[in-house]
């Protein structure tokens, strides 16, 4: 990796002031590495691996719903365990870890012109703590009773009562794993935030940062404030489970025995959980917003419309997301006026979010749109996020939410907005940055196949699910049996959804194959295959060598979106290109129309 053009002495000299850590052996270079790029790949690989497990779990659940009794090993307990682990893995261990640990680690130093994160050692610890959290989670399959089946929200009291699957060891391992995850994330989060604040290269002002970095930055700040709520909830529940305290546990008579708990408040847990849980939605969404902005601008060869608005919207969404948590608790028996307040804050978030959607569409308007795989996924994200967001407007209102709350409508809404939409961005981002990470392109035909099956398939899965929900088909049920209000067509629809889920899941194997195959056999990408402006595409080597930028750090002369500048020689001007000054007339620039 170390570039051969300079001798080792020159190499030492050029990084002397940067206090850069240097790997000394194979182990410290590839395994216990402190290089953010390696850590990013470790984070991403771990997250994708555990995500594949969660994908298989969703297959098994769908099999049970469509063909009850066909897979004999799925009993009610197993079904709830699958639900729980699928939800928790996807939300925390896949999406959060991949956006912040994966893309955050890879892109923040490269996009800001830094040699590495500011605390590389802590960064390494962050990954290993995360890996430990994942292993503890997986270990719950191997303890008596298996993993917990409490549902991904782990509501007490049922989470620790004896009829809930995984009550013996599974719930304990789940809570310990979450605690470890929070600790590991905090270590990583300190790195991301402080690198953004202190590690930027010369000329890289905050308002010249690519929106990807803005999204990850604000999301990390939010996560650092919100994850302690999850931490507190998990520690208190561990006390209830292991020490017999009554933080959350009311007096319960179980199988004729009075349990030692009394007087605890399950609602208190819900408040703590959702105080983390709702910001979590935007912890995932903000990096996705940022990445999509960059993908769209690059692949439409146009500057992002309303850059300032985009930044402000990210900040405002981040702040607002802390005052909406109780909209997850409309059916918890709370005061309706309380719900009314949270309905209003919930609907207000739609305003900055809508601004972002308009700006994406206006960026596309009269752009030179290239339907590359990253662009396809970015476009699919916009559509999907709007769809999921609109059903969110339904559920954000108390009177509509109450009848729909326990139906498949919620499952459909949630998966559209927080499952499918961010995952589409993850795919788009991987197709976009894979050439930088490996130096080779992913195969385009496989990518197109992957995109169309995933995109159309996801709609065929989740659109019908809304109808099931409105029809009243309940969620969380292991099997519905013969219920008079469910017409036979509801069951046919269930079978259809399951078949589509199997197909979409299988399409992901194409993606995994493409990832592995292209490392060796992909078309060589060159340094800047998308002709993009941001700094990570201007590195002297691809994949970027240790220290990222060779001898001298880049100097930034312009914002990240100088595409199709009138009068410029090329249709993009990298951020680190000083001149020649093109005629930069404001009226010619759609983004500058307000000036």
């Amino acid at each position: 990796m170390v570039d051969a053009t300079h001798g080792p002495d020159a190499h030492a000299a050029e990084f002397a002031d940067a206090e850069l850590y240097h790997p000394r052996s194979w182990w410290t270079r590839y395994v216990f590495s402190q290089d953010a790029k390696v850590i990013a790949i470790q984070y991403a690989s771990t997250a994708l691996a555990i995500g594949l497990l969660a994908l298989v779990l969703s297959w098994l659940m769908r099999m049970q719903l469509a063909f009850p009794g066909f897979l004999t090993f799925i009993d009610a307990a197993a079904y709830y365990q699958f639900i729980t682990m699928h939800g928790m893995i996807m939300v925390i261990y896949l999406i959060t870890a991949l956006f912040l640990g994966g893309f955050g680690n890879y892109l923040i130093p490269l996009m800001l012109g830094a040699r590495d994160m500011v605390f590389p050692y802590v960064n390494m610890l962050s990954y290993w703590t995360y890996l430990l959290a994942v292993l503890v989670l997986v270990a719950s399959w191997f303890v008596p009773g298996g993993p917990t089946g409490a549902g991904w929200t782990l509501y007490p009291p049922q989470a620790i009562l004896s009829n809930t699957p995984g009550q013996e060891g599974g719930i304990v391992l789940m809570l310990v794993s979450l605690i470890l995850f929070v600790i590991g994330f905090t270590m990583g989060g300190l790195n991301y935030v402080v690198t953004v604040l202190q590690g930027r290269t010369r000329g890289m002002t905050l308002m010249r940062m690519p929106l990807t970095v803005w999204g990850i930055f604000i999301a990390t700040v939010m996560a650092m404030l919100a994850f302690p709520a999850l931490f507190v909830a998990c520690v208190m529940m561990l006390f209830d489970k292991l020490l017999g305290t009554s933080f959350f546990m009311p007096a319960v008579v179980e199988m004729g025995n009075l349990l030692p708990h009394e007087g605890g408040s399950p609602i208190l847990f819900q408040h703590l959980f959702w105080f983390f849980g709702h910001p979590e939605v935007y912890i995932v969404a903000l990096p996705a917003f940022g990445i999509v902005s960059d993908l769209i601008s690059t692949h439409a060869r146009k500057n992002i419309f309303g850059y300032r608005m985009m930044v402000w919207a990210i900040v405002i969404i981040g702040a607002l997301s802390f005052v909406v948590w109780a909209h997850h608790m409309y059916v918890s028996g709370m005061n309706p006026y309380f719900g009314f307040f949270f309905a209003i804050t919930t609907l207000i978030i739609a305003v900055p979010t809508a601004i972002k959607v308009y700006n994406w569409v206006l960026t596309l308007w009269r752009g030179d749109i290239h339907l590359n795989p990253p662009m396809l996924f970015a476009l699919a994200f916009i559509v999907t996020f709007v769809n999921g967001g609109l059903t969110g407007l339904f559920l954000g209102n108390v009177v509509v939410d109450v009848p729909l709350s326990d139906t498949m409508f919620v499952v459909a809404h949630f998966h559209m907005v927080m499952g499918v939409a961010p995952i589409l961005v993850i795919f788009g981002a991987i197709y976009h940055w894979y050439p930088k990470i490996t130096g080779r392109m992913l195969d385009n035909r496989l990518a197109q196949l992957h995109f169309w099956v995933t995109f159309l398939g996801a709609y065929l899965i989740f659109f019908p699910m809304h109808y099931l929900g409105i029809m009243g088909v309940p969620r969380r049920y292991f099997e519905s049996g013969d219920i008079s209000f469910q017409p036979p067509s509801a069951h046919d629809l269930n079978i259809f959804i399951t078949v589509m889920a199997l197909i979409v899941g299988a399409a992901q194997l194409v993606f995994v194959f493409n990832l592995i195959w292209s490392i060796r056999h992909g078309k060589p990408a060159g340094g800047n295959p998308w002709r993009a402006t941001t700094l990570e595409w201007q590195t002297p080597e691809t994949p970027p060598a240790h220290g990222n930028f060779g001898r001298d750090l880049p100097v930034v002369y312009r914002w990240a979106y100088d595409y199709s500048v009138p009068g410029a020689a090329e249709d993009f001007i990298p951020q680190n290109q000083p001149g020649p000054n093109p005629p930069h007339e404001a009226p010619a620039m759609p983004g500058g129309a307000t000036s």
């Binding site: 905090t186 000329g203 890289m204 002002t205 308002m207 520690v235 009394e262 408040h271 900040v315 979106y561």
Partner: protein
């Protein structure tokens, strides 16, 4: 709840104040060239580690604010029986205060360049902090001996939980203090320890503040204060 609101209001105010100084209204598409001397680049000349500590303290603060919020919500639920305050907590508070003062003194010693005073300060801080932790364990033992066990009343549970988490944070601080001591006893000059000592002192001050708040909470004064404020408002 009001504690959580207050904490997040402070965080929001800090974030707003910081953002307001970041030229977020510029039109970056019109600006070219290297922008130097603007507030948002290199605005903070502080070392990255100090900024990192600031964010760490925000996380720790969030943790304890949420715990305090949970404490107040759980307290409302009727079965609450306040816990007698073990007198040893006063002694422990004094120990933590002395530990913090010792670190302040060590910080001065760095400025004066006195290696012996620095070492003395660090050692004293560590001894006082360890005494604090031992005292907390004694308090646990006393309470448990007189029947206030962890799974008794929720006020007991909160006592053990809150003091335990606070103690763990002091323990983490001791690890950092240990690293500073290793450097102070090593061959590097006094200057090389400056940042370590300063960060430890800041952390200690923060944990002292957190302890004061928690102590007043556990002793029941915080509740009296909140009740008094509610009376004033109504």
């Amino acid at each position: 709840m009001s504690v959580v609101v207050m904490f997040f209001a402070i965080i929001a105010a800090l974030a707003g104040w910081w953002l307001a100084r970041q030229r977020l209204t510029v039109k970056p598409w019109l600006e070219q060239g290297v922008i130097e001397g603007v507030p948002d680049f290199g605005a903070s000349r502080d070392p990255a580690k100090r900024v990192g500590l600031g964010f760490l303290l925000a996380v720790v603060g969030s943790l304890f604010a949420l715990l305090t919020g949970a404490y107040f919500m759980r307290r409302e639920l009727g079965d609450w029986q306040p816990l007698p305050v073990p007198p040893i907590l006063w002694f422990n508070t004094a120990m933590l205060l002395l530990s913090s003062i010792a670190l302040e003194w060590a910080q001065r010693a760095v400025r004066r360049g006195s290696r012996t005073q620095l070492r003395l300060g660090l050692a004293a801080a560590a001894v006082f902090a360890v005494t604090f932790l031992a005292g907390q364990l004694l308090a646990w033992g006393e309470l448990a001996a007189s029947g206030y066990v962890v799974d008794g009343n929720p006020s007991n549970s909160f006592f053990y939980l809150v003091t335990g988490l606070h103690g763990l944070h002091i323990l983490g601080g001791l690890a950092a203090l240990g690293w500073a001591s290793v450097k102070a006893w090593g061959r590097g000059g006094v200057e090389s320890v400056r940042l370590n000592v300063e960060l430890c002192a800041t952390y200690w001050l923060f944990m002292l503040f957190v302890w004061m708040v928690l102590f007043s909470l556990l002793a029941g004064w915080a509740s009296d204060f909140v009740a008094f404020c509610q009376q004033l408002l109504s």
